[in-house]
Subunit: 432 residues, 2 copies
């Protein structure tokens, strides 16, 4: 065999698997049809979050006077889409070359080209046939095609020099909602076009209801696909389906077209694994990265597994939203007796100090013993705050553990402790 591991696709699932494989001494080949970093680094999470950061910075200027800053004339400020894109591109490029350096450092070989699986242990790329003890498919996903004529991709949106007056975003899910808020903050009249009642599938109904209200408050029009509107540009941000690799042997898929995997993330061919978006388990980058590490650990025989089902959901909405563990709907389905404890940011000192009082922390706990079953956060820094919830859940903590953990004052993280106390109906700073 030429390699211990051949990985097809160099996004956050594939490249992290490759680095990890190199670290534990496996002879590793990483193949991508385009460039290392994949959709996430080059066209997806990294540049989009960078644009969102620019837009939020721009929006925050509205608070400058309140904070005591003189000399900004808001009628003269604007978000320069092109400049913000250039910054985003610079960050992507830096990440891209950092990853190349890491792959090199850990002895991972890379090939740019289209890989075809030709047998259980063989692939062909750029007309070479290469063998590997293990093959890992990490080819990702793409948005489902739209019926709409002339609709553009997200790449096209990021290729614009300036935004047009009206923009329609087609789709639901994290990317659709984030993109709608981004272009809205940047100053375009925005439509979010979807037939689904769930703005973001998989998040608690409480959050979906909140999001709908919030988008409307921000002036974003939620419309159904059959409604007639005119927009200068339409963007396809639909739900995603798997990008299947070309294969001479049968690799089984689910009814939705994702690659079928068992608990070890093996396909129907035991030497072939599938990780990341392509297996349909999650479309979050960190879930894919964790799957990559999990598979390499298993191949190498490293003990102490990663709990793949326990990962945060992070939405770079405005304000941010994050969730981990079970939703109310899941707990109800599973007939678990649960309690909701919550604490609003509006009563948190640091949130007032930061001028970011929109939001809430909700802890869902099992009623009898108090184990934390799920956490939902709406807050300006929710995507970072969810890490605390992940820590508690990883350690199987109860709400009592959360309550007795001393939190620094004044910090926004105090809402956790308060929500923990609220489980006894005894939050210290809760008025209502």
């Amino acid at each position: 065999m030429n390699y211990d591991v051949i990985i097809i696709g160099a996004g956050p699932a594939g490249y992290v698997a490759a680095i990890r494989a190199g670290q534990v001494g496996l002879k590793t080949l990483l193949i991508d049809k385009d460039k290392v970093g994949g959709m996430c680094i080059n066209w997806g999470c990294i540049p989009s979050k960078s644009m969102i950061e620019s837009a939020k910075f721009y929006y925050r200027l509205n608070q400058a006077e309140e904070f005591g800053i003189d000399g900004i004339n808001l009628s003269k400020t604007s978000l320069n889409w092109k400049k913000a894109i250039d910054r985003a591109r610079t960050i992507s490029a830096k990440m891209h070359s950092g990853i190349e350096l890491l792959l090199h450092k850990h002895g991972v070989e890379t090939i740019i080209g289209k890989a075809i699986i030709t047998a259980e242990n063989t692939i062909s790329v750029n007309k070479r046939s290469i063998t590997g003890k293990n093959i890992i498919i990490a080819t990702g996903s793409y948005p489902i095609d739209s019926d709409r004529k002339g609709i553009k991709s997200l790449k096209a949106l990021y290729g614009l020099n300036e935004l047009p007056e009206t923009i329609a975003i087609e789709g639901n899910g994290a990317v659709a909602v984030e993109t709608a808020q981004l272009v809205n903050l940047a100053g375009s009249k925005t439509y979010l076009v979807s037939d689904s009642d769930e703005l973001v599938p998989g998040v608690d109904k409480y959050i979906n209801d909140y999001l709908k209200k919030q988008l409307k408050l921000q002036g974003i029009s939620l419309i159904k696909t059959n409604k007639d509107i005119s927009a200068d540009i339409w963007i396809n941000a639909n739900q995603r389906s798997a990008i299947l690799p070309e294969s001479k042997i049968k690799i089984e898929t689910t009814e939705n077209g994702f690659i079928n995997t068992n608990m070890n993330l093996q396909t129907n061919i035991p030497s072939i694994y599938a990780i990341g978006d392509v297996n349909g388990r999650s479309s979050y980058a960190h879930a894919g990265s964790a799957q990559g590490q999990f598979v390499i650990n298993n191949i190498k025989g490293v003990k102490g597994g990663i709990e793949l089902g326990l990962y945060p959901i992070n939405l770079y909405t405005f304000p941010e939203i994050a969730q981990i563990g079970a939703t109310e709907q899941v707990l109800q389905e599973e007939d678990i007796d649960y309690k909701i404890s919550e604490f609003p940011l509006s009563m948190n000192a640091k949130a007032m100090i930061s001028g970011q009082t929109e939001g809430v922390v909700r802890i869902l706990s099992e009623r009898k013993y108090g184990e934390v079953m799920g956490v939902q956060i709406i807050a300006e820094h929710a995507t970072d705050m969810i890490a605390e919830a992940a820590a508690f859940m990883e350690m199987e903590a109860t709400v009592y553990d959360v309550a007795k953990t001393i939190h620094a004052h004044p910090t926004i993280s105090e809402v956790f402790m308060e929500a923990g106390y609220d489980a006894f109906d005894k939050a210290i700073h809760k008025i209502k």
Copy 2:
């Protein structure tokens, strides 16, 4: 007895104890010589953090162009000290009335006046004699007097309409360093005047060394007290000593003048407790609040104690600094074999996206089993990020637990996971 609990001093130790006492059904009296909220809410943490937030916002305008924001002329912007103070005052007032409401809601009676302890279960205030089963002293602390003629208090600094050209801050510790950075960011030439080599006592030497370098880079002059400088105003931000209540009975103190307490925070008189700054255990607000809850829980017989020694240290420096658990120096003293794992923010995607790449996360773990012994963070949002470390330490987690907890991507919290992996010398994204 008139009351179950009489609390003297309504700062974050006293008022939280009072709310908690009301919640668990104790008949409670809270006495303060000035107003509810104490130094923290009215003159200390809350208004100072609000001012720091204004100054950081102002400083961040330097990044506006890089983020793609057009139309800000930096030569025309300035931080209006008076306006920022007014905002800080508004937040303090809101917190103050929120606390009054909470005290009322939980049935706590309050008296404004000077309390004198007249016997083991008796105090006198405003010429009334009042009895209580338990008396809790929470009278706080004040900065040690300076020899310097004409030196002003922090209150005076916050009373200015605009800052003078040069300011000298006398002292070391969190308040001194935060205040020096605040006035420096706001545009004054700043001197930090102290004979101590430790800028902030109690934090790791690594952080003290970092702080010294950082202050110099920011143009703040660190000078010794004997060096002659001329400044328009001198501010006393010296270390603090206890404010002892007047007492007709002997309440024992330590050699540094703080009230002596046992493990239950009882003084030499078992019916009299001391919590917060006055017992000299910690000068952090949340440590005082936790002590307040701890004492009330003990009085009421609620089980499941709070670990009073495990609390975060939070510095609103620029960037922020936070720490929990043991420092290297403590581990060395205790002869514990430890390992340092660290990960720099400069290699974190979200830190690049936010333009806040200054900083590091360091985890100190016991070498054999990997238990997390201490965590230090330098990062723009370190004071919130330390909550994750507190969660892991509360649950007695190992670095392996930290590493296998899936963190959302892209978030700054990923540095924790990386630092966890670094404990195996295997951080995914670490180049050096």
